[in-house]
């Protein structure tokens, strides 16, 4: 199984690629809503890309209380 660090890195690379932000500007503890400046439609878009990339189902209500990349990665890892 992938480690949390590996999953976090993949999430950061996905987010950087999709939202056209240099990877080095993102870090695991960043609030992804604020850092990426995204609204809920874009968050759903990111969610779909995460599901497609990791081949998981990720109910959108699991985003409640999640705002940083590392915590998001932990929730993803729980479904791998």
């Amino acid at each position: 199984m992938q480690s949390l660090q590996e999953v976090t890195e993949e999430v950061l690379r996905l987010a950087a690629s999709h939202f056209h932000v240099p990877r080095e500007q993102l870090s695991p503890n960043d609030d992804f809503f604020k850092k990426l400046g995204i609204d809920s439609l874009q968050a759903l878009d990111l969610l779909t890309r995460i599901e497609n990339h990791f081949h998981i189902e990720f109910p959108d209500y699991e985003l409640q209380g999640v705002s940083d990349f590392r915590t998001l990665a932990a929730r993803i890892q729980a479904r791998l």
């Binding site: 609204d39 809920s40 968050a43 959108d60």
Partner: protein, 267 residues
Amino acid sequence: MKSFVGNTLSWECTNGVIELKLHREPCNEIGVATLEELERFVQALEREGKDVAALIVYSSLPAGFSAGADLRELYHRSQPLRAAERVAGVRDFLQRIHRVLNIIDAAPITTIAAVHGVTFGGGFELALVCDLIIADKMARFCFPELRLGLIPGFGGIPRLKRDLGNGAVRDLLLTGRSINAAKAQAIGIVSQVTAEGEALRAARATAAQILKFDRETAIVAKRFIKPIPHEDLQREIEIFCELFTRPAVEEGLKKFAESTDTMPYLP
């Protein structure tokens, strides 16, 4: 069938295929203006559509197919009215939208929804009246109505019951979660999943295939396999109207309408 360019939607008919394009910014929210133009569409379809064999419904807006009912309009229109008038207004709207969607559902043509992005609530219900849903891989489907203390009101539950196992319907309805196109295909809602941005192209290819078949046979086959759940559809309107009188619904609508939250689509 003549073309039409409206404020919320447009259509064009070429070689027996109508393409109905939704284009009301920001995400094809369905309010009075859209309803009126959909009524115009079905009227044209019934009067002039004898040479039509297929319909493709799609959105030209990047955000998605449709985010559903125009809740802000619903809230603001309801506000000046007394309770009984509010319910009467909602009932009238629902009966009109049901009439339109029932006509499309039963139309003697093969209907295809080509969807991408947000396909929520009433938008999901519009897609569900079509015979086939072709979704690109970024489409998401959701019935978020329970978040507002309501149920889907445009015929979603009876149509899901028609198409899916009860467990899948309960999952969508009772969790209000959104699902992606792959999941929607796995449970039987979506017939084809395409690459991002390719749903309309795939729908056109499917319509071209459909045109090869004998039209009368296709009509008979569709009537045989696709009953319209009239009793359940009427019951859904009644349940919706009963729920609509509850204070929790007014509070939920107020919160949505007045929110400046950048994240209204997340639970």
